[in-house]
Symmetry: C2
Subunit: 150 residues, 2 copies
DNA sequence: CTATGTGCAAAGTCTTTGCTCCATC
DNA sequence: GATGGAGCAAAGACTTTGCACATAG
């Protein structure tokens, strides 16, 4: 479960087709192209971005299909929605446990891994909360590009 | 800098008036009421919620004034915008370093403090990022209410 | 008195929905 | 062939903006 896996496109496409097959989702041209666009756009794409990517190959795609399809993918656990910036919905195809860096200047989002954090105990003060599913860290700072420029 | 402070309304109102005075912001009735509504609504209110609260005391308040005023407050560092749930913009008046619990069922947001986390070193893998300003943890789970019900 | 801030209305975004036709299984 | 999915258009939700009047300093 590391970054390499997220770049193994054929494997991800296989998994996608498997999920569709086993869960009764029809394997349409549109879904395939949308999923492909999602996994190829590393930088946590917006719906609009995915739409534009898909349109390059599928001229007749409509924006609402992208919305609907992405919602379906989310529901079936193929992607995740992330809320990191001012209300631009973005998606994450990296399903491994990871965290996010957000550049305060260019708004770039980068994934990072932090096993040490993943293992530390939560504070006692929140023991009244149960079934902790996800614990994510968001870090705001300057990415290397923006830091150079400055 | 702890939870108690965030509940000290008079002190917070004083600070608000100070900031307005020193930074040349006119102290209008609307701004005062909006700020009051913000600090009194503990649960990370939405713009709509603030609007409704203020309207109880100020019948003529308009929604766009709330939007504009909140943007001003944010700009002047009086509140912070949080992105934790499906694109409902919410605000945080707790300016102390803290983290968030988000209930996966009722969507409630709760603050928590985690000094141990605040002090641990970031992984070496992200040393190419600079000027880390904020490091926040978001934890998803079941709040005590929802856990009881289930 | 002056310039900032508010209210109103209108326009922008972004997202969802109803319906008909199409394509996958 | 049957049914789930796509495309179209329209409506909804949320947010921003231009302008004229009001009000804090």
């Amino acid at each position: 479960m590391n970054k390499k896996n997220t770049l193994d496109f054929p494997k991800l496409m296989d998994r996608f087709e498997q999920v569709c097959k086993t869960r009764g989702l029809r394997l349409t041209h549109q879904r395939t192209e949308i999923f492909r666009a999602l996994i190829r756009s590393m930088n946590h794409p917006t719906t609009e971005f995915v739409f534009n990517q898909v349109r390059k190959h599928l001229k007749t795609i409509s924006l609402d299909t992208v919305y609907r399809t992405i919602a379906t993918f989310e529901e079936f656990g193929l992607i995740k929605r992330v809320h990191l910036l001012d209300n631009t919905t973005r998606f994450d195809t990296n399903l491994a446990v990871h965290h996010h860096l957000v550049c305060t200047k260019c708004k770039r989002i980068e994934d990072f891994y932090w096993p040490d954090f993943d293992q530390i105990k939560l504070p006692k003060t929140i023991s009244h909360w149960n079934k902790i599913e996800v614990r994510n860290v968001v870090i705001n700072g300057l990415c290397s590009n923006c830091n150079k420029k400055k």
